[in-house]
């Protein structure tokens, strides 16, 4: 009831500016406030940062397979460079690839469209969020080229190593790394508030909370998780920055500080962070599974409750990253219980996705293949987490390649398979053109096979005692037997194959963007609101009349209708 009054205010008050639809190039592409362009900016920045992350992966896998050799495009790799490469690979892939693409790019693009709004609630705040993010991306890249090199203390940045340049030997790199991460958090706090408030307040008339598409829910839950968990780490980042630059002793035992405190501050954020990126990916998979099997989601509310349950439970499990890190062993018992219990909601979520396929009419389009690939790979990632969460087995597996294999089987499906799911599905809406299905399928099969060949052998390496972040295994006779060396080489070759297949995607992406067949408004015959406006949507999304919602987003194959989908905005 007060809403029209506000709107009235806004229209008439802009300090002399008046609203016009023709925007200059700079307004439209460089400093846009339109959520779709900000989403695309996030997407392209994230993809660019993925090149950095991927290049690091290439470089250190080459070093591991053929220690000391000259790496093409990189040259000889020193231990400091190796550490910087693994550290920044992890940091960039999580904070500058998974987060911007999954939450910010898809959140920006999809939330206003899916809730039937013309933009985010705070478009300029949204632009600010991207600008802060861009600065953080520039800082993290700059940190690699300062004297002393990039920060090499692992993405967890455990002090005292990260807090004292006498230990890490990267006085500038470590501070810039920390500043970049903190700036990135600020960007996502601002962006997250925008997402949550948009979904809470800007829903189309008639849209009940059970009518909100799953991916919107997931991005909002993820944003809330992020917001509630990142605070202690923000505080910790300030404290660690003071340790680095002013030589305070928050985490320095020589001055009465406590390094364990940082581990808690970090993992209190770090574990929910996993679910921050997981939930948007599962949301996109839910959308794609429903649309491409022409089925209503199996138990919409149950999926939602499993997501909320996973999110809440994820706050109670963080110390399983620290079982052997010097925390009190009695605490480990509590955290083992909570960690193993988190398997219940997340397994149920996967069951419900698979159950959605039951009775469906599954079309094996590229997005559907990616969604199915996500379920398959994430199942592996999920079940291999159990030995790590069970404290007894973690004693041996902690910080081994088993951990690496496990979390890459979660993060690769999340960050890449999830992204490809969303990108191939919403590409027509984003760019108004269809992607090439044949190239898409080649890319899918190449990627999915290569990624399993890359990470499955690492389980074996981990069980054989390979530890993480080791520059050269030939220093350890037990770890450089011909058998283990060959496994490492096999993994590296798989990585090269994996990277090679990404060129297929990049070509398909840019070629289709300009030369692909023009897409109709609703190429997948989907019911949710974003498909009820033109492709690509104009500024303001739905034109003069924003939609009204009459039903849930997943009314597929309703008996008695001649069409097998039922748009949310179509009056009964």
């Amino acid at each position: 009831m007060n809403a029209p009054a506000h709107g009235h205010d806004h229209v008439h008050d802009d300090g002399g500016h008046h609203h016009h639809h023709e925007m200059t190039f700079v307004e439209k592409y460089i400093f846009p406030t339109d959520h779709k362009y900000i989403g695309k900016q996030y997407l392209l920045t994230g993809m660019l940062m993925a090149v950095f992350g991927g290049f690091f992966a290439y470089a250190f896998r080459m070093q591991l397979a053929w220690p000391g050799s000259d790496i093409p495009l990189f040259g000889h790799m020193s231990p400091a460079e190796y550490n910087a490469a693994v550290t920044n690979h992890g940091t960039i892939m999580i904070f500058w690839v998974a987060m911007p693409v999954l939450i910010a790019a898809f959140g920006n693009f999809l939330i206003p469209l899916m809730v039937g709004a013309d933009d985010m609630v705070f478009p300029r705040l949204n632009r600010l969020s991207y600008q802060i993010f861009l600065v953080s991306a520039i800082v993290i890249v700059a940190s690699l080229f300062v004297p002393g090199g990039g920060f090499g203390g692992a993405w967890t940045a455990y002090p005292p190593l990260s807090g004292d340049s006498a230990y890490n030997l990267t006085p500038l790199g470590s501070s810039l790394w920390l500043v970049a991460v903190a700036l990135e958090f600020v960007a996502f706090l601002v962006g997250g508030i925008n997402f949550i408030v948009t979904a809470m307040n800007a829903r189309a008339p008639g849209m009940k909370w059970t009518d909100v598409p799953m991916v919107v829910w997931m991005i909002c839950i993820a944003s809330i998780l992020f917001m509630a968990s990142v605070g202690p780490l923000m505080a910790g980042a300030v404290m660690l920055l003071f340790d680095q630059t002013l030589h305070t002793g928050f985490f320095d035992p020589r001055q009465g500080g406590d390094p364990i405190l940082w581990q808690h501050l970090f993992w209190f954020f770090g574990h929910p962070e996993v679910y921050v990126v997981l939930l948007p990916a599962t949301g996109m998979v839910a959308e794609v599974v429903a649309v491409h099997s022409r089925k209503k989601l199996f138990g919409y509310k149950t999926i939602l409750f499993t997501a909320v349950g996973t999110g809440v439970l994820s706050f109670f499990v963080w110390a399983h990253h620290q079982f052997i890190a010097g925390i009190d062993p009695r605490m480990a018992n509590i955290f083992t219980i909570t960690t193993v219990l988190i398997s219940i909601p997340i397994a149920e979520m996967m069951f419900l996705y698979i159950a959605t396929l039951y009775g469906g009419s599954i079309r094996f389009t590229t997005p559907m293949l990616w969604a199915l690939g996500f379920i398959f790979a994430f199942l592996i990632g999920g079940v291999t987490g159990i030995p790590l969460g069970a404290s007894g087995a973690d004693i041996y597996l902690h910080d081994s390649y088993f951990v690496i294999a496990h979390f890459h089987f979660t993060f690769f499906p999340i960050a890449f398979i999830g992204t490809f799911t969303g990108l191939t599905h919403w590409f027509p809406k984003m760019f108004g053109r269809m992607m090439n299905e044949t190239l898409g399928k080649i890319h899918f099969w190449g990627t999915i096979i290569a990624v399993h060949c890359l990470f499955l052998p690492m389980f074996v390496l981990g069980l054989a005692g390979h530890h993480r972040r080791i520059y050269d295994y030939t220093n350890f006779p037990e770890l450089s037997t011909p058998f283990l060396t060959n496994i490492g080489i096999f993994a590296t070759v798989s990585l090269l194959v994996l990277l090679a297949f990404q060129f297929v995607f990049v070509f398909n992406f840019f070629y289709s963007m300009f030369k692909g067949p023009v897409a109709e408004a609703n190429p997948w015959k989907a019911g949710s609101l974003e498909w009820q406006c033109p492709s690509p949507p104009p500024h303001g999304n739905f034109g003069e009349h924003l939609p009204t919602v009459y039903r849930g987003p997943y009314e597929y194959s309703v008996p008695g209708r001649d069409k097998d989908y039922w748009p949310q905005s179509e009056p009964a």
Binding site: F122, I193, G231, V238, G256
Partner: protein, 192 residues
């Protein structure tokens, strides 16, 4: 550049005005940030009796006056809200100026206090207590500065009787900053 204020901004499906809802989410994120610092401080404080001896060197008078200043500026903020509620933007702007004056006074007292402490040799590296003292109060002071800047921006529209709901929102933020100080004051100054 053309301003585009979307219809989305004017909707209120949750029943809470958009600006206020966003503000409370912001406060939620601030609670965990300050909570992180204060929880870390408290853990050390309870385990390190020597913190009490060092806390005895803090200037309780400065802290008390600063608490008084912040409480008063909070009063000004709520009076501004009251004026804005009655549609009197000019009066609201006036009260917000008083609030900003309070913020400046707070910062001046803080600066004088820190100067004297640093001259006495109590710097941020003196001991973990002083590290926490400067860090926690510093993070709080940065919020005071941010709040004052936002208020300057709100005043510009309020004095033209526009966007009066912003007066309430910036006031809410200011009360939060006040509440944080209400807890920082006994934690850093009084508990010995």
């Amino acid at each position: 550049m053309a301003e585009f204020i979307p219809v989305a901004n004017t909707r209120s499906a949750s029943g809470v005005p958009t600006g206020k809802l966003a503000l409370y989410w912001l406060l939620c994120s601030e609670i965990v940030i300050f909570g992180g610092v204060l929880a870390s401080y408290l853990m050390h404080r309870l385990a390190h009796p020597e913190f009490g001896l060092q806390a005895a060197h803090t200037n309780v008078y400065a802290g008390t006056i600063n608490t008084f200043v912040l409480l008063t500026s909070s009063l000004m903020a709520v009076l501004a809200h009251s004026a804005a509620e009655h549609g009197d933007g000019k009066k609201a702007a006036k009260y917000l100026w008083f609030t900003i004056a309070g913020a400046l006074m707070f910062l001046c007292i803080k600066a004088a206090e820190w100067t004297s402490e640093i001259q006495h040799g109590y710097t941020i590296t003196s001991s973990p207590f002083w590290s926490f003292y400067y860090t926690a109060a510093g993070i709080h002071a940065s919020h005071v500065i941010a709040g004052a800047l936002v208020m300057l921006w709100v005043i510009q529209s309020a004095k033209k009787n526009k966007y009066l709901y912003r007066v309430e929102n910036v006031g809410l933020y200011w009360h939060f900053v006040d509440i944080v100080w209400i807890f920082l004051f006994p934690l850093l100054y009084i508990a010995k």
